[in-house]
Amino acid sequence: MGQILEINGLTKAYKDVTSIYQMSFTLKENKIYGLLGRNGAGKTTLMHMITAQLFPTCGDVKVFGEEPYENTRVLQQICFIKESQAYPEYFQISDVFATAKSIYPNWNDGLANQLTQDFQLPLNRRIKELSRGMLSSVGIVVGLASRAPLTIFDEPYLGLDAVARGIFYDRLIEDYAEYPRTVILSTHLIDEVSQLLEHVLIIERGELLFYEDAESLRSRIYSVSGSSEVVETYMKGKEVIHVEKIGSLVTVTLLGKKEENNKKQAESLGLEYVPISLQKFVVDLTTKSREKVVKGQ
């Protein structure tokens, strides 16, 4: 399976802050990636650099083996749907779709029409008259109907209710199964998308903290609870992500090793073993990272 994105030593520094620092990773084709992290972690900056909408301070970005900047071959294969996408205010929804159709070679009118009906979008309504949810739906229609080999969604469903989000997930999976492409999904609703993701990238303070196969990661993250002495004994030699104390009860979030039987070990010591969600793991991991910075470690 080929690589479609290669990032090497990527840094974006502003006058008083570094948004992305020495980041390197690769993405393979036809996979769904979750780009996760807290607000201000650098996700949007990273996506802007991948799509050549922002210039790196140093480092390389190669998409489909080429620099994306001013490169039509590359750019027309990338569809980046962002929450902050600006639209010409005089445009109607139909104008947005027509413009998208003119740039994305794989654009599918049938899918666009079906999604327009699913999200009940009035094609002749002006963009400036749309609600936040409708605006998000427009982005989702463009993102899916473009069938771009690299499709990036950055918080695509702001203002959408649970039903509409469900439609998005269903259509994404259906169309992805039929027309595989690489999808990067950046969102805070991690639990909702957790089952869609094949790989997870976790970013915090401009650095890539974690990059792993989602299935493997889900099997390794768990928490144990029990009395502090027993938990401390259990924690020795393990990767502790987060510790929470309530009275004498201690709950620890851990990242286990694949080959270890973490559940058996914990239960043999009388500890309560609970697999945790990806969202809980991301929260604990990024909190730990911030605490480290505060403590100057």
Partner: protein, 227 residues
């Protein structure tokens, strides 16, 4: 160039602002002046046609704000955006020029100033010469004003408000300095005499050079602009 044409089509979707609005204002002004001319005994020379040029300047200032982020966000290259916009400006300037030159001809040659001594489209000095010469003046003025606005907003897009502030300060200082030098050496009279000695057509070549400068500035600013 295919995607540059797609950018032009994107602009064409906003034809009400690019094409119809300036004409609505222009003809509203014309008909008001015509009514006054009918009721009046004296010849009327009016600058109502300036509204078209003002529209070009304002459109130049607003184009980037309206469409640049959208175009870049929708995977257009900056170069395609620039050339697609250039095509649009050329199309609007050309079609408006044809219309204004035609109306100037009708006013001057066919209707004897609309039968009521209303000089709206055919003004002294600006509309001297044959129709082709007049068209060149109109076209170069429209292009010039559009790219004056466009280059200013492209500096803003590239360098933000601090860039604009520096541009403003530098322009003010340079303008004041030049003005002070001209005043000190009593050159104003000489300059005016020399400028007036040229026809509007000759001057249009001069502003053409300035227009090329604005176009180049816009191009290089946009090449490094972010969405």
């Amino acid at each position: 160039m295919n995607h540059a044409w797609n950018v032009t089509r994107m602009h064409l979707r906003y034809n009400s602002i690019w094409l119809y609005m300036p004409l609505i204002v222009l003809f509203s002004s014309f008909f008001i002046n015509l009514i006054i001319a009918v009721l009046s005994d004296v010849p009327i020379y009016t600058g109502g046609v300036a509204s078209v040029y003002l529209f070009m300047l304002i459109t130049g200032l607003l184009t980037l704000r309206n469409t640049f982020s959208f175009a870049i966000g929708f995977s257009f290259r900056r170069k395609d955006y620039f050339f697609g916009t250039f095509l649009m400006v050329a199309f609007v300037s050309f079609s408006t020029t044809v219309l204004l030159a035609l109306l100037s001809y009708v006013e001057n040659n066919l209707t004897n100033a609309w039968g009521n001594e209303l000089y709206f489209f055919h003004l002294p000095y600006l509309n001297d010469g044959n129709v082709v010469i007049q068209a060149c003046v109109i076209f170069s003025l429209m292009f010039h004003l559009y790219y004056l606005g466009f280059s200013i907003s492209s500096v803003h897009r590239r360098f933000g408000r601090y860039g604009m502030m520096i541009l403003l300060i530098v322009s003010l200082v340079a303008g004041s300095l030049i003005s002070a030098i001209i005043t000190y050496f009593h050159w104003w009279q000489i300059i005016f005499t020399k400028v007036i000695a040229y026809s509007a057509f000759q001057l249009s070549w001069g502003i053409g050079l300035l227009t090329i400068f604005f176009i180049l500035v816009s191009y290089f600013m946009l090449r490094r602009a972010t969405s």
